[in-house]
């Protein structure tokens, strides 16, 4: 079994979804979570607050510094993610298709083998 990160990307400035659209998204996301759990593929999932609530922590030569804001000043941010385990990339892509239909573009990224031992 391999583990994959399925991350949902939010583009800054994209039109805000209507309440109804948000409801649909939550409902479908819930369904995907249920199906993943039933299939034994679900490891972890979660949605994130907006990037302006992020804090960056650095440790340079024993000195800890903190700064406000996301790590990279980009227009795209991770809005939420799934961690799943499945046999191969095709299986991961099949889940990603459903996630993308519910939440928008999804990046599928395999974990390296060391971290899934």
């Amino acid at each position: 079994m391999k583990q994959y990160l399925l991350s949902v990307h939010y583009v800054e400035g994209a039109p805000t979804p209507s309440d109804e659209e948000t409801q649909t998204m939550f409902r479908e996301t819930g369904r995907i979570n249920d199906d993943m759990q039933a299939a034994g593929a679900w490891v972890f999932a979660g949605g994130l607050t907006s990037p302006d609530s992020a804090t960056v922590v650095r440790a340079d030569n024993g000195t800890i510094t903190m700064s406000d804001g996301p790590f990279a000043e980009t227009k795209e941010h991770i809005a939420g993610f799934w961690v799943i385990k499945c046999a191969d990339l095709d299986a991961a892509l099949a889940w990603a298709e459903r996630c993308a239909a519910a939440c928008g573009p999804v990046e599928v990224r395999p974990f390296d083998d060391l971290s899934q031992a």
Partner: protein
């Protein structure tokens, strides 16, 4: 049969089978290369079944090598080999393995340019410099594309299997595209000599394999028919003395390869019987009409282009259809059909417009369009052809 031919024919098949036995493409390539090196030293004359000899030798070599190594990949490969131990000692290339490897190389998760390079390398056994020459890119670029693609196959666990029936609508088109582009690049090279027969031959060889492996997929048969019927006309495509491009209408039909024409026509008839038309089958049917009888039945060609345009409404199809429109309804109607067709940077659009304008006697506009086309053409033979046409236009009008 000499070793070079055996290598060309067997390399991909052997790598495909070893990839399944070892579970790793890099290990499979190394093992097969080792086996060919051994063959070079040992063979006085090739054995009756060289593929089986290579696979068996490669597997034994791989076992020896894996026993000496203790990396994680080696342990994994050893476990897989143990798992396959019930297979007979003398194993040959397995045809399904090749199909698995084609689908892995052409997986939609890989970059399109990497798919072609990987297919040529792993299934065609072409070396990196050969691929680089064929596509006029730096060797380092090709090497990097291949390394990156193989790494992604391993890291992301792109599966090594033939997709299930319900996945084929998504997974088969990229495979057909790779073979089509491979042939096209060989037939109308971006630069250098106009025709690169090695790429054409490799694309046809792989399309034949694919058709043998998936005889029930009409688009696979359609692609093979299209390649064969195009290849059949190759001997007449360049003037033997001047090396200039000869248009279909002016070609010496006695130079066409009759065996390939017959095979292509037979495949097109098989497709028609299945009655599940697709873009490659229709293009093959158009090629079949072009190669049937003493002259082209243009109304039939136009009807097929109408069908193709409905199925694949792309600007290139619209451009090709306009050529048929000119033959059936005249150049003015064809020129009108090209209104709104946009193909930035593609020389064949202004070249076609130039032909139509010339036929209408609109010489100044025709010359301008020929200039535009010649400036965009990247292949020397094609550029020379366009410049000739422009010169002839001036001369013909002066003479009359």
């Amino acid at each position: 049969m000499d070793l070079a031919n055996i290598y060309r024919a067997e390399y991909g098949r052997c790598v495909a089978t070893l990839a399944r036995l070892l579970g790793d493409i890099n290990l499979a390539e190394e093992a097969v290369q080792d086996a060919f090196t051994t063959a070079l030293q040992k063979w006085q004359t090739p054995p009756p079944n060289p593929g089986a000899w290579i696979v068996t030798t490669a597997r034994n070599r791989a076992v020896d090598r894996l026993r000496r190594e203790s990396t994680r990949e080696a342990r994994h490969a050893q476990a897989l080999l143990l798992h396959h131990q019930d297979e007979p000692q003398e194993v040959g290339p397995v045809r399904d393995d090749q199909l698995r490897l084609i689908f892995t190389c052409c997986h939609p998760a890989l970059a399109p340019e990497a798919r072609t390079a990987l297919t040529l390398r792993l299934l065609g056994g072409l070396e990196v410099p050969e691929i680089a020459r064929a596509y006029l890119v730096q060797e380092a670029t090709v090497a990097q594309r291949i390394v990156r693609a193989k790494k992604k196959i391993r890291d992301a666990a792109i599966p090594y299997r033939v997709p299930a029936g319900h996945e084929l609508p998504d997974r088969l088109p990229p495979v057909l595209t790779v073979l089509y582009l491979m042939f096209n690049e060989g037939y109308a090279s971006t630069a250098g000599p106009l025709i690169r027969t090695d790429l054409c031959a490799e694309a046809i060889r792989l399309a034949r394999e694919l058709a043998a492996l998936m005889p029930d997929e009409p688009e696979v048969l359609g692609l093979l028919a299209l390649l064969l019927l195009t290849e059949a006309r190759r001997p007449a495509r360049l003037d033997p003395t001047t090396g200039e491009l000869v248009l279909l209408a002016d070609q010496d039909r006695s130079l066409w390869n009759r065996a390939l024409v017959a095979e292509g026509h037979d495949l097109v008839r098989r497709c028609l019987r299945r009655n599940r038309p697709g873009p490659y089958q229709i293009q093959a049917a158009i090629s079949a009409v072009h190669t049937d009888g003493a002259a082209t039945d243009w109304p039939q060609v136009l009807a097929l282009y109408d069908q193709l345009l409905a199925l694949a409404p792309t600007p290139v199809v619209a451009l090709n259809r306009a050529v048929a429109v000119a033959e059936v309804h005249g150049p003015a109607v064809a020129l009108a059909a090209l209104e709104g067709v946009d193909l930035p940077g593609y020389h064949r659009l202004p070249a076609t417009r130039a032909e139509l304008l010339a036929r209408l006697g609109r010489d100044d506009e025709a010359r301008a369009a020929y200039d535009q086309a010649a400036a965009l053409a990247t292949n020397e033979t094609e550029r020379a052809y366009l410049q000739n046409r422009r010169t002839e236009l001036t001369r013909d009008r002066r003479a009359s």
